[in-house]
């Protein structure tokens, strides 16, 4: 059901949305550069790190391996960025949206599942043992995080009685969903970290397997993969705002400004968490996902469903 509070903008604005996503990704990368430099105690501030890294990778010659499956390799490497772009098409920025899909939540879910394909393909395509080990690590993480993430996405949809993101944001005028669905929100955030292969889910790129999935990536492919991870973090943070954080609700400033502020804040937390959480070993995390996260989030769904039914 198209929501009257949301206006669909012409397709040309997709470029602006992509640019905005790019800016957010660069901001995330700059913040990560700063945090890295501070942790290492280096003399430079690290804020300009992403520009230097991008320039270096764009000049670098592409390396290839014997019998690499180039088609799948390149598809996987560029795929993460594509996923992030597809996710933000359904996220309303204040009043405007590119694609007022009535099943926006399911759309996000379908897009985040593509990470399974793209990360594994990047690991497979290089025809190298280390990168394939990384790909399998990601799939093992995927088996553990995906179901809790799916059920976490159910909570806001049930709470708002709609799968449309505009309607979900509009349903939070009184009380943000994060207040009464904290478990779903935390599991959702974990899921976003996972699809971006970030923080606790970085064993797929671990130093113990020579960089894992990225072991053989070089030049533009590496840039796309890295940029794709930051873009996914940004898209995940952007999706969380209408889903859990009240959308554009906030005093004084217009809705779009609140949207951006909340997205940036959540994105900064995601980037900061990278150094604060221990790595989740895939085999150990499997049981955590199925025995702890899944029942917890199902219980959350039950509570949300009971409350939603009670409110009528």
């Amino acid at each position: 059901m198209p929501d009257p509070t949301v206006t669909v903008v012409p397709g040309g604005w997709a470029l602006a949305a992509a640019g905005l996503l790019g800016l957010l990704a660069v901001a995330a990368a700059a913040l990560d550069g700063f945090l890295t430099a501070r942790a290492a105690g280096s003399a430079s501030s690290g804020w300009s790190h992403p520009y230097g890294e991008a320039a270096r990778l764009m000049r670098q010659r592409r390396r290839t391996t014997a019998a690499a499956d180039r088609l799948l390799w390149r598809t996987g490497g560029a795929g993460l960025l594509l996923m992030a772009l597809m996710i933000i098409t359904v996220v309303p920025l204040g009043r405007w949206t590119l694609f007022d899909l009535d099943v926006g939540v399911v759309w996000f879910n379908a897009m985040d599942v593509l990470a399974w394909a793209f990360v594994w393909l990047t690991g497979w395509g290089g025809n190298s043992t280390h990168s394939l080990v990384g790909g399998y690590r990601f799939l093992a993480h995927g088996l553990a995080y995906e179901l809790p993430l799916m059920f976490a996405l159910v909570a806001p949809a049930v709470g708002a009685s709609s799968l449309n993101l505009g309607a979900i944001a509009a349903a939070q005028q009184g009380l943000w969903f994060v207040v009464w669905m904290p478990v779903a929100f935390l599991v959702y955030c974990l899921g976003v970290l996972a699809i971006a292969v970030w923080g606790p889910f970085s064993p797929a790129l671990g130093a113990d397997v020579a960089g894992g999935v990225t072991a053989e990536l070089s030049g533009v492919d590496r840039l796309l993969f890295k940029g794709g991870r930051y873009a996914l973090l940004a898209a995940g943070a952007g999706f969380a705002v209408p889903a859990f954080l009240g959308g554009g609700a906030g005093p004084l400033l217009p809705a779009w400004a609140w949207m951006l502020i909340k997205t940036l804040a959540l994105l900064a937390v995601f980037v900061w968490l990278r150094r604060r959480l221990p790595a989740a070993r895939p085999d150990v995390f499997m049981e955590v996902g199925w025995v702890v996260l899944l029942p917890a989030v199902l219980l959350q769904d039950l509570i949300v469903a009971v409350i939603a039914t009670g409110r009528g």
């Binding site: 059901m1 019998a67 499956d69 088609l71 799948l72 899909l101 009535d102 099943v103 399911v106 759309w107 879910n109 379908a110 599942v113 593509l114 399974w116 394909a117 594994w120 393909l121 497979w124 395509g125 025809n127 399998y136 799939l139 995927g142 995906e146 799968l163 989740a280 070993r281 085999d283 150990v284 995390f285 499997m286 049981e287 955590v288 025995v291 702890v292």
Partner: protein, 187 residues
Amino acid sequence: MLTHVVFWALAVIAVLAGAAVFIVDSMARASYALAVSFVAVGLQVLLMQQNYVGVVTILMMVMEMAVMAVYMVMFMGMNPALMPMSMVHDNRHALAVSIGVFVLLAAGVLLVPWPTRRGGPPVDVTAALGEELMGPKMLVMTGVGAVMAATIVAGVVLAAHRSRYDRFGDDLRRRPADDPQPGGVGR
């Protein structure tokens, strides 16, 4: 007009990718060709205004194909990049049968006088589907639930080779269980 162009492009992609599954000689390419075919069909279903079913098809099939590729690599045990893969039996008969079936189906499609459309789509297709499942078609949902539960149990019974005696010892008293993979909860 645009719908027609998009539909034809997607139809061609779906069929070609489907055919590629059995032509390419790499396990990863075969699985993901099937995934492409499913994504194309899911988008076609979206064109026919069934948003929920279309998106769910894409969601499920990409996941399944990621798992499918792992299973193929696990069982087939050869390096697909170096060794071409062609394992078929009775190729000619299979080809004849499938072409025959296609001709039959196509003839049916073209010759049957299809009725005209009755009624129009509901305003909110997804909500209508949900109400249908939770109302008049509740029996379907209950049946699906039972079948799914039975599938999970049967699948685990077939695939797991260790019984509770292997895990907990002959008197079932061993704690924690003896598992080849230690878990994160430390049971």
